[in-house]
Amino acid sequence: MSAIYILWLRELKRYVRSKAQIVASLGQPLLYLLVLGFGLGPVFQKAGNGSYLQFVAPGVISMTILFSVIFSGIAMLWDRQFGFLKETLVAPVPRIEVMIGRTLGGATVAVIQGTLILVVCLIAGFRPVQLSMLPLAFVFMALIAIVFAALGTAFGSILQDMQGFQLIMNFMVLPIFFLSGALFPLINLPRPLAIITRLDPLTYGVDALRGVLINASHFGLALDVSLLCAIAVAFLSLGGYLFSKIQL
C-alpha cells in the first residue's frame, strides 16, 4: 500500500511543480469552451436546443480529463526509455501496485484539471441546474479519469517510441473525444454515427456528467454508471496485464 501511495504522491508533486504545464494544458479546453460555446451558441439556440455553453461545458470538462490522463499514461514513455520507470520495475514491489499508483496519480491530476475547467465554465456563465448534484459530478469525473487513465497506462506499456504516440493521438484519443457526443447532441444522428458513439466509452462519461450538471442524460444515469464501472474494470485489467509484461 505504501508503494501505491508514494507513487501516487509522485504524480501529484510533478503536477503541482510544473506550473507552465498546468496553464498550457488548459489552453485547448478553453478554446473549445469559449470559441465553440459562444461561436455556435446562436445557431444552437435557433435550432431550439437552448444554450450551447450549457450543453458543451460537461463535454469540455470530459475532454480535459481524457487528454490529461492519456498524456500522463504516455509520459511513461519518457520514464521508460531513460528514466524512472526502471527504478520502479526493479523494486521489490508487485508490478500491479506500481501500475495502480501511477494510474491513480494520473487520474487524480486529471480530476484537478477538470475541476479547474469547471471553475472556468462557471465564470464563463455556465450554471449547473442543481447545485446539490455537484458532488456527484466529481464522482463521475473521477470515474472518467480512472477509465481512461487505465487505457493510458495500457498505451504507455506497449508504446516504444514517439511515432506510436502520434498514431494513438490521431486514431484513438481524438476519435474518442469527437465521437463521444461531447460537442453535439446524440438525438437524430445518422445511423452509423449513432452506432459508433454508442461504442465509445467516453459517451457514457459525458452523458453522466450532463445528467448531473444540466439534467439532460440521454441514456439515464443507471446505465451510464454500470457501463463506466464495467469498462473501468476491463481497462484496469488490461492496463495491469500489459504493464506486468513490460520488458526493458
Partner: protein, 262 residues
C-alpha cells in the same frame, strides 16, 4: 553470490547472449568488460529481473530471479547506464521514495538517507530538484540510492560514463570503501580499462555474446602477454570497431534534447 550457468538470450534470430557461465563470490568486485553490443547490458538486465532469459540458470544469493522476483529484487541495488532518477523531485525525495519501495524500516530511513547523502557529498543539496544537478551529482545520488536498502549485491552498468576524472576517482573510492566495510558484492561494467584494473578483483571479458576470458587483472595480462589491461582487452576482442544501431532510446534522447526535457 551470483551464479550464472549457460545463460542465453535471443531476439528472434539474433543471439545477444550466447551460453555464458560465471560465478561471482561474496564480497568480490567483479568487472564485466566488452565492446559495445557485446551483451553486457543484456546480461545485467537478465540478472536484475528486467528481461526474461531464453535459457540457462541464474542464482542471486541462492534465489532464482526469474521465479522469486520480489525476493531477489530486495537483494540487489542497481545503477543503470541511463539515469533512473526522478528529475522532478528533490534528492531527498528520490531517496525517500526508494526507501518506501524497498521497505526500509521507517525508524532507520531518515538516518540512513542522511548518512549516505553526506557520504556522497550531496547533503547540502538535498532539497534541490534533481534536474538542476550536474551529471556527476546525479550519478552520485544514484549510487547513494543503490546502497540505501543495504543490498548484498550492487550492479553498476557503466556508472562512470561521461564523468570527469575527479568524479570517477571519487566514485570508485566510495564503491571500494563500501565494498570493504559492508562486504557488498559489486558487479560492474565499464569501458575504462584503468578503472577495472584498479578496482576489480576479477574480470570477465565478453564479446559477441560469449565470454572469451576470465580471471584476475594480472592473469588476463599474463595470458595475453600484455603490459596493460587495455592491451589485454584489445588482444582478446580484436581492434575492429563495433557499430550499434541507434535504439529508440537514442532517438528519444535527441527529441528530449530538442525539447529541453533533460
Amino acid at each position: 553470490m551470483i551464479q550464472v550457468q549457460d545463460l542465453v538470450k535471443k531476439y528472434g534470430d539474433f543471439t545477444a547472449v550466447n551460453d555464458i557461465s560465471f560465478t561471482v563470490e561474496a564480497g568480490e568486485i567483479f568487472a564485466f568488460l566488452g565492446p559495445n553490443g557485446a551483451g553486457k547490458t543484456t546480461t545485467i538486465k537478465m540478472l536484475t529481473t528486467l528481461l526474461t532469459p531464453t535459457g540457462g540458470k541464474i542464482e542471486l544469493d541462492g534465489l532464482d530471479p526469474t521465479v522469486h522476483k520480489n525476493e531477489a529484487r530486495r537483494k540487489f541495488g542497481i545503477v543503470f547506464q541511463d539515469p533512473s532518477l526522478d528529475n522532478e523531485q528533490t534528492a531527498y525525495e528520490n531517496m525517500a521514495l526508494h526507501a518506501v519501495l524497498y521497505k526500509v524500516p521507517r525508524k532507520v530511513r531518515g538516518e540512513r538517507i542522511e548518512q549516505l547523502l553526506k557520504l556522497f557529498e550531496l547533503w547540502e543539496r538535498r532539497d534541490d530538484i534533481v534536474k538542476t544537478f550536474s551529471g556527476g551529482m546525479k550519478r552520485r545520488l544514484e549510487i547513494a540510492r543503490g546502497f540505501l536498502h543495504t543490498p548484498k549485491i550492487l550492479f553498476l552498468d557503466e556508472p562512470t560514463l561521461g564523468l570527469d576524472p575527479q568524479t570517477r576517482n571519487q566514485l570508485w573510492t566510495h564503491v571500494k570503501h563500501l565494498n570493504e566495510t559492508q562486504k557488498t558484492t559489486v558487479f560492474l561494467t565499464t569501458h575504462y580499462m584503468d578503472e577495472a584494473d584498479r578496482v576489480a578483483h576479477r574480470i570477465a571479458v565478453i564479446d559477441h555474446g560469449g565470454i572469451v576470458a576470465q580471471g584476475t587483472p594480472q592473469e588476463l595480462k599474463q595470458q595475453t602477454n600484455s603490459e596493460s589491461l587495455e592491451q589485454a582487452f584489445l588482444s582478446l576482442t580484436g581492434s575492429s570497431i563495433r557499430d550499434e544501431g541507434a535504439t529508440s532510446a537514442d532517438q528519444m534522447r535527441q527529441v528530449a534534447k530538442m525539447w529541453g526535457r533533460r
